[in-house]
């Protein structure tokens, strides 16, 4: 099996500022002194491999580094050390003809409660901006618009500012856009967290069609059941460390054992 994403010894530290100043006087005294910092390892030495066409789960408690990991895969954060390799697309697939040089697999990301929206713009305007950011042309977006709107169920709200959307509606819109992007790899962070049942049903349908088309999906979730039903394999992270890798069922068993013990 060829690999879609290969991650080797990934390490990411953040710098946390230390705010020890408590009183006004202290702040004045400390003003010219350098703030102290603490290094915080959000991910330490994480390695794993995602195969092509696989549904891959990431599970772990709050703050263990799941979203950070996904952001690194999406290219938003840069790791301190370690290597992320994205597999190469087969020649003659959907990037047909334009390039003779091999292209890496394309990635669409759906991170932490939605794609970024500009809150003061309408849903329609955001669809165009996000669609373009995700690689679509304006013409493609116009063609996909009815489908996206229908999927998100926001027919009457298309020209409403996104800040006036409910969090579920925002999430539906984000997912609807991502679902209409033709990528090879989808990175999904807690996509099912705030949707209602009918929306979850649509999500599952989309996942099913992705599976049919042989897409690769990386799914972050707190819900062990979701990981168990959707994913082939998974990893379990705790405090930035890889605790377990293997079949989704095995990893979830390890996760539950750790929680119990």
């Amino acid at each position: 099996m060829t690999s879609a994403i290969s991650v080797k010894s990934l390490t990411k530290t953040f710098i946390l500022p230390h705010q020890k100043r408590t009183t006004l006087k202290e702040s004045f005294v400390d003003f010219w002194q350098r703030q102290t910092y603490e290094k915080f390892a959000a991910l330490s030495d994480v390695s794993f491999e995602v195969n092509r066409g696989e549904f891959f789960g990431i599970i772990g408690p709050n703050g263990c580094g799941k979203s950070t990991l996904l952001k690194i895969l999406a290219g938003i954060y840069r790791p301190d050390s370690g290597i992320v390799t994205i597999g190469m697309a087969d020649k003659g697939t959907h990037h047909a003809g334009t390039h003779s040089t091999p292209q890496p697999l394309s990635i669409a990301s759906l991170l932490e409660l939605g794609i970024g929206f500009q809150q003061d713009l309408s849903a329609r305007e955001n669809i165009f901006i996000n669609g373009t950011l995700l690689g679509l042309t304006a013409r493609q977006i116009r063609r996909l618009l009815p489908g996206i709107v229908e999927f998100a169920g926001i027919e009457n709200f298309l020209d409403l500012k996104v800040k006036n959307f409910s969090s579920g509606m925002r999430q539906r819109l984000a997912f609807a856009i991502a679902a209409h992007i033709d990528a090879d790899i989808y990175l999904c962070d807690e996509v099912l967290a705030v949707g209602d049942e009918s929306f979850q049903k649509k999500c599952f349908e989309t996942f099913a069609s992705w599976r049919e088309q042989g897409k690769t999906v990386v799914l972050v979730s707190h819900d062990a059941n979701q990981i168990a039903t959707l994913c082939d394999r998974a990893i379990y992270l705790d405090h930035g460390q890889l605790k377990s890798t293997g079949s989704a069922h095995q990893v979830i068993a390890d996760y539950h054992a750790a929680l119990a013990g």
Binding site: F14, I76, Y77, T98, L111, G116, Q118, E125, L133
Partner: protein, 254 residues
């Protein structure tokens, strides 16, 4: 190649969004953009031309041109500096080349500049002035002004993403710069000893160049042309390099 073209598509979408954000919910909309520099122009004209009886010929046209260019520069750098912060939702969720945000922001201000220039054209013609062949130099000039301003904004924005004090500092600096650039006065008023210092300000080059083309109708010397080219391309290259070098930190610190 296709990627490059697509970046322009992104920039265009962002510019459209910026314009909607700027004028949505305001009754007079675009009119405000035109009104702001005109207000500043009106007050300064009153003080310098009426109260202080500045005898300069075509002072109104002279002043308006300076103010329109200044307004572009100050607005583009201010909003451009802020643009990373105001687009943080996009930056932290999707990977795309971050420079498009800055370029889109400066381009929005640039479009406003073009609209303002229509007003200038009306002033210019009604003052009985006629454009000559040298006026055509204004087209490459505008392009260089865009490059220079973008380059500076790249630097300001990447610093501002980390040090928010820069917002206040730049506001103060802009006020100082307004008086230390030959906007309300001509360089010939400035005593020799000070003039050379004003030349260190790149805006001096830009503003006096534009006046040369429009008011003196004289083609700028080779030296002036080269200087403008070097300042613009140099600032752009430096700013772009500086920005790209720390592009990846922006999503983490913003």
């Amino acid at each position: 190649m296709t990627n490059h073209l697509h970046n322009w598509a992104i920039i265009w979408q962002l510019v459209k969004g910026d314009f909607k954000l700027r004028y949505k919910g305001s009754m007079l909309g675009y009119f405000w953009t035109l009104f702001k520099p005109l207000m500043l122009f009106g007050v300064i004209y009153l003080v310098f031309s009426v109260f202080l009886r500045n005898p300069m010929q075509n002072y109104a046209v002279f002043l308006l041109l300076g103010i329109i260019i200044w307004t572009f520069f100050s607005e583009a750098t201010m909003t451009g500096m802020n643009s990373l912060l105001s687009k943080r939702d996009l930056i932290t969720k999707i990977y795309f080349p971050r420079e498009v945000i800055i370029l889109a922001s400066v381009l929005s201000s640039f479009i406003t500049l073009l609209l303002n220039l229509i007003i200038f054209a009306i002033f210019y013609v009604s003052a009985g002035l006629m454009p000559g062949v040298t006026t055509l130099l204004f087209i490459p000039y505008l392009f260089l002004l865009f490059l220079f301003t973008s380059g500076l904004t790249f630097i300001l924005a990447s610093l501002y993403a980390r040090f928010h004090d820069l917002g206040h500092i730049w506001e103060v600096l802009l006020q100082i710069l307004f008086w230390l650039s030959p906007i309300v006065y001509d360089l010939s008023f400035v005593p020799e000893a000070y003039r050379q210092w004003l030349y260190l300000n790149p805006l001096t080059q830009f503003i006096s160049y534009s006046r040369r083309i429009f008011l003196i109708n004289q083609s700028p010397s080779l030296k002036q042309n080269l200087l403008l080219l070097i300042i613009s391309v140099g600032t752009f290259a430096l700013g772009y390099y500086f920005f790209k070098r720390q592009e990846y930190i922006i999503a983490e610190t913003i």
